[in-house]
Symmetry: C2
Subunit: 202 residues, 2 copies
């Protein structure tokens, strides 16, 4: 990287940092180009020298949020023995993260990706996130219980879709109506999927 590139990356970083702070703080309500720029210490028009539009900037934060989320999960499930129990724990922690940061949920799942071709890699990153978080433990299960590759693929997809669906209903439609009901529903669904795998060995 030459000087120009270094400086450009720095500027991008300032705007991304500002965006992340706003998203985790005030949330989507106060996320607009003027607030972002103010938080970054620049005028709003400067933003357009470094990003095509605000959507590009916002979606560039996905990667950072995933790393932060993964770190929180790792810390949270520390001590849980590998295998089915860990898959459950990771999945629950994954959901808890989005409940804690609704704006990140919005960014990951709701926000429309304007330029389709450009952001397909990001969409893929989001789609595969839970799979990557649980990959090691699924592998462990496959070996331990001598499971079919295909059964695992289906179970992984099931977990991915169910967590997205539950979060969608809870975050956007407040269904179930209380967090404790939601939490209970999570347990039921996750256990149903993961326990099924264990049973299938029999």
């Amino acid at each position: 990287m030459n000087n120009k590139e270094i400086q450009e990356q720095r500027m991008k970083g300032y705007f991304m940092q500002a965006t992340k702070e706003l998203l985790k703080g005030e949330g989507l309500k106060s996320l607009n180009v003027r607030n972002i720029a103010q938080q970054a210490g620049y005028s709003f028009a400067t933003l357009y020298n470094y990003f095509k539009d605000v959507k590009e900037l916002v979606f560039l934060c996905v990667d950072d949020f995933q790393q932060e989320c993964a770190a929180e999960i790792t810390q949270k499930v520390n001590g849980v023995p590998g295998g089915p129990a860990k898959i459950k724990a990771i999945t629950k922690a994954y959901m808890a993260y989005f409940v804690q940061y609704p704006s990140v949920f919005n960014l990951f799942f709701i926000e429309k990706l304007g330029d389709i071709g450009q952001k397909q890699p990001t969409a893929n990153l989001i789609f595969t996130f839970l799979d990557r978080l649980t990959a090691d433990d699924w592998d462990y299960c496959r070996k331990k219980y001598n499971l079919q590759e295909n059964d695992i693929t289906v179970a992984k997809a099931e977990l991915n879709y169910i967590t997205a669906g539950m979060l969608l209903f809870y975050m956007n439609r407040i269904q179930p109506a209380s967090y404790s009901d939601f939490s209970e529903a999570i347990d039921i669904q996750i256990n149903a999927i993961v326990d099924r795998i264990e049973i299938s060995k029999a």
Copy 2:
């Protein structure tokens, strides 16, 4: 209903009709108060004499769309024998409807409900939609296969969450990347859930 109420209902109907036409036609891009009012044959300010805001108007359309969707499904699954096969067919037709009308998907699942208390009944309507569509056939299964009430409750919730999650990923993130892949994934997931119930009788 007195005259005033009749006239008021009529006016609301005009605006709702306009909203539905725009949503099914041009989609969300061109859904704004000015377009709605023009389609209804009134000025945009008139809208505010009949609705608190545009969100109220838009969410009032949920009921009509559900009826339309239910009618399409009923017609589509006509001839499918009741029971597991019909649950599968209904669920697939339910998803196909949202793929056909992305704006309706947005209204049902994505659009933020502004006033929380006011629109909770609507949120509940959306949450229970698939359950209501398949209720008869689940009941049929319960009797035929002598199933546990609880197993059915979990399976229903599973279907509800998985369909929402799959639609979310496909509509908002284009994952899977092609409709045929998506369609295949639907089959796999729906079959996995419904077939499990049949097997559990053994």
